[in-house]
Amino acid sequence: MRNLSSGRSSYSYWLSVHVLALFLALLISGECSAVATPTSGIRPGAPINPSVKDRPNDEGGAIEITWEASFDDTRGRGIVRSYSILRSTEAVSGFEKVGEVDSGRGRYLFVDDGVENGKRHFYKLVSQTSSGAISEPCIIGPISASAQWFHSERWNMLIALIIVSASVLTFISMARKGRDLYIRPIAGLQAVDEAVGRATEMGRPVLYIPGILDMDDVQTIAGVAILGRVARKTAEYETPLTVPVSRSVVMSAAQETVKEAYWDVGKPDAFHPEMVRYLTDDQFGFAAGVDGIMLREKPATVFFQGAFYAESLILAETGHSIGAVQIAGTAMTSQLPFFVTACDYTLIGEELFAAGAYLTEDPRLLGSLKGQDVAKGLAIVFILIGIILETAGFHWLTEFLTVN
């Protein structure tokens, strides 16, 4: 009897293990029951065809969970109120709720964006009624989030980048080999030397403001590049130069630029670090400070070259009131009208970026300017072809240019 009993017990044990293993295998593979199990009489049907995948084209940290509506969602008994999504690093335990989605649709998508990259996760998905009854759980996984190096829907950006970069590099190469690259005259830049000369004749300083943004902004970079040329002229003419800045890094870069310019023309002793002054990061505090400098030092020439915001008219009006020659340049379209109104010369938009190439005649800058001209020519061609296609009812070019 004992042996028989023992044999039955062993048989029951192995049967239980096999049933449990089969159950777990079903759960992990996502094949949860789609039919309501009548345990309480109102238990809803489980979500259908659940699946998980790493969210594509992202920096990682997110998993997409999709499923179809339960048989008891909008169909059947219509008792499903919502779906709960739970997450765990183990297949059978440790689940914590990460979200809930209201019912009423045919297909669902939930993005869990609180996931650690490279870590295995399991998800449990249940439907629930307004009375709190829940369906049989669907456990899906394992899945882990990861970052993608390339956005598969941005081929158009890659193609545009290759075309622009190739044209820029080609022209830089041509410029370095000594090919003469023509740049048309730009009125505001031709006036730079005259403006510095005027300040020299009047015995008054030159004021140069490289915008109010930091060195990671291309307009500030362009403004500091033009500062190099202006500083060379002030060094040659021994004209005082004042450069108020609103960012500490811009102060460092501007000091280096001015120092290099004074060394280049053989007048290192004329350079003083105090020429470049940090005032404050605050926009209107900076405007108030520069206004004060203008009124007290009375510069004969004022340069505004860089990124400006609402302080542009305050500065340009003050410069105008003291009778200074003003040369402005910015790509901030909302501020250009004020500079056009209050300044003697204004570099509009891309003319600011062209200024560095025009003034220094550096092959790298000239090449990049010519390369950008190729890009502009291509843009005109694209627009002409695209408008003909759109008018004829073809939209494929517009779709190609759409960036996701």
Partner: protein, 207 residues
Amino acid sequence: MTADIGTWLAAFLTLCIFSFLYKDNPFYKFAEHLFVGISAGYWLCYHFWNTVKPNLYDNLVEKGEWQYLLPLFLGICMLLRLFSKIGWFSRWAIAFMIGSGAGIMIITYLQSNFLEQIKSTLVSLDPAGSSWTQVANNSLLFIGVVTGLVYFFFSKAHTGITGGVARVGVVFLMICFGASFGYTVMARISLLIGRMYFLLHNWLGVV
């Protein structure tokens, strides 16, 4: 009239700044220096507690993420400007900032200032079922963008046909600037109204 000391102080400083409309004077100088000094101090504290502490100190010391030693090193390079003999170290930090900034921004600009602009210009000149005003709008958009692009073409002198087309582009630009000027002036007047309301209502209590 309010008895709140803060409102009195704000009103006094507002009038000090307004006195600039007459000419430079000691009141304006006082308000200007106060504004510049306090804002410089404020932004120093702001950057420390909102940039250095959460982005560097917490990650490096609290979380032990050693890759943040690189920004710490670059930050120290910037501070070495205080010593003239080794101040050139700061050029590394500046070069890193300019290079990484330009590299990151090239993608943003290529998308927003190039592809998106081209795409937005691709409109039908004869949209089905549209009024003549829509056709005129689309035509103006097309002409304005193309002539504007020609104006910013630096490889050819603005003479002959190119000069004529560029001149049309300048006309479009100036009309755009005029509209923008009027719009912004209206916004500035609303700021002035806000300040006058503060003086007359919050301070004097006459309105």
